[in-house]
């Protein structure tokens, strides 16, 4: 089994937090995972990527061209992953999910948490890990920060998609 996820957006959108929560949960499930971040010199505003690979066997090379799942969180993220947008790649685009957040009256800052919810659903369906374990880590990281209630709802909305 090998499942490849590419997260792409802008610095400051919480891409690396998403990767951190997902990868730590998968590691706890006794599987192999690699997570490699890729960004430029900017602290904020530049493109920010993370290549995640999950496997039941040791993983050699941490990067890949063709993901199974591509999560595009910004226009810049889309531009930066042009070479990865290949036939057969399941792609989740930020425009659609920002629309959902808007309808629910949740700020777009919770977009990464909504995608964590979607990932929790996908990974549960693939029997990789449990959504509850992802949520526990998420709460640990964000539970005491502002907008936690909104983030919690964003996670639930993502998980229900």
């Amino acid at each position: 089994m090998r499942y490849k996820i590419l997260l792409a957006g802008d610095g400051g959108q919480g891409i690396q937090l998403m990767a951190d929560i997902i990868s730590k949960t998968v590691f706890q499930a006794d599987l192999y995972i690699t997570s490699v971040s890729n960004y430029g010199l900017e602290q904020r505003g530049g493109a920010s990527l993370n290549y995640l690979q999950i496997s039941d066997k040791p993983i050699g090379y941490p990067k890949f061209r063709k993901p199974d799942l591509l999560i595009v969180m910004s226009k810049q993220g889309r531009q930066r992953t042009e070479q990865n947008q290949l036939p057969g790649v399941e792609t989740l685009n930020f425009e659609y999910y920002n629309g959902i957040l808007e309808k629910e009256n949740i700020k777009s800052q919770s977009l990464n948490v909504l995608f964590i919810g979607i990932l929790a659903k996908i990974l549960k369906e693939k029997k990789i890990c449990n959504e509850k374990e992802i949520f526990v880590l998420l709460e640990k990281r964000l539970g005491k920060k502002t907008n936690w209630e909104e983030n919690k709802r964003a996670f639930e909305i993502g998980y229900s998609k």
Partner: protein, 347 residues
């Protein structure tokens, strides 16, 4: 080593653990991506360190600490690595066990900040000498740990400086390290300390040409002797290989995965992976390359031929096999790249 069977940690954290387990007393350094986390992580652990004003000072700091009997090391990249070669060459001349962790980034100059394989020549032959240093190129997190330990041990055992040649992908990847798969080793003892007040002439400069010539020839003899023990390479499915792929470091990890897929298609391809780029495992390479089954040799690397240059220089000139090159300076070489390249050359 760790008590847990496996950890999920970054390459930089692996390096810190390995340096500590190797008995390193102090780190001198100046931060530069992608090796910043080695310096900051080392400091955060509360280990002795000195953040110097630049890499030149860091390098000579290592030399001084080693002369005083400490296991010292540094870490740097790209333009910082260039500056460190000054002190590194002095360590070569004075036979000091100097360990330098290099996280290759794109070049020339400041280039890019994450990844490349363009510091091979600088690591192997960067000084104004004959390149009498050991250069290790790990290909996985497990090996990043074991080769860091080995770099310290070999440097102190044979008294030559050593480079642990990594890159930003390897240092910044968070992955699973399995301690059970890593053999623990005993540490080489540190250099004999100079007693206080001792007056020892330990030169890095000579008055007469003849004097230096003698010194370099002794060094060369010692290096050759050490090289026979230090040079290492891994072969993967080379016995019946029609195509011999040569790659090092993280590109070799990509190559291995491509080979698994190519073998499923019936393509007879194997990998020769030098784990030390200097000294190069010449005998082992010549044997693998001269194997009758090998029809073509492919060299894949994230530079414009720095590995290929070493291969050609070291290879027995009587081995006549066609070569092809996959060269992507400053770019990662993905599994698909190698897969397609091998298929193209398998006609």
């Amino acid at each position: 080593m760790k008590e847990s069977k496996r950890d999920f940690i970054t390459g930089a954290e692996v390096v810190i653990k390995a340096c500590r387990d190797a008995g390193a007393d102090i780190m001198y350094g100046y931060p530069i991506t992608p090796t910043c986390e080695i310096l900051s992580g080392w400091i955060n652990e509360g280990y002795a360190s000195l953040q110097t004003e630049d890499e030149i000072a860091a390098g000579f700091g290592v030399c001084g600490a080693v002369l005083a009997g400490q296991k010292a090391f540094t870490a740097s990249s790209g333009p910082g690595h260039i500056l460190l070669q000054d002190a590194f060459a002095m360590a070569e001349g004075m036979r000091l066990p100097f360990v330098m962790i290099v996280g290759q980034r794109g070049g020339p100059s400041s280039g890019t900040v994450i990844y490349s394989q363009q510091e091979v020549m600088l690591s192997c032959f960067g000084g104004n000498g004959e390149g009498m240093r050991f250069v290790y190129s790990p290909s996985s997190l497990n090996e990043l740990y074991s080769l860091t330990r080995l770099a310290f041990n070999d440097a102190w055992k044979y008294r030559f400086p050593a480079v642990l040649l990594t890159d930003g992908y390897m240092l910044k990847t968070t992955g699973v390290i399995e301690w059970e798969k890593i053999k623990d080793v005993e540490n080489s003892p540190t250099f004999t300390r100079l007693s206080d007040g001792a007056n020892v002439h330990w030169p890095n400069i000579y008055t007469a040409e003849e004097e230096l010539y003698e010194e370099v020839m002794v060094m060369n003899k010692d290096y050759k002797k050490a090289a026979s023990k230090v040079a290492k390479a891994e072969e993967y499915l080379t016995k019946d290989a029609k195509i011999l792929l040569v790659a090092h470091g993280i590109v070799a990890a990509s190559a291995k995965e491509a080979i698994v897929e190519l073998r499923k298609k019936g393509v007879k391809v194997g990998l020769f992976r030098p784990t030390t780029l200097r000294p190069f495992s010449k005998k082992q390479f010549d044997k693998a390359a001269s194997n009758k089954s090998v029809k073509k040799i492919l060299v894949a690397e994230s530079s414009l031929g720095q590995l290929a240059r070493i291969v050609h220089d070291e290879m027995d000139p009587e081995i006549c096999k066609p070569f092809a090159y996959l060269q992507k300076p400053a770019l990662g070489i993905e599994i698909e790249d190698i897969y397609n390249f091998v298929l193209k050359n398998n006609k």
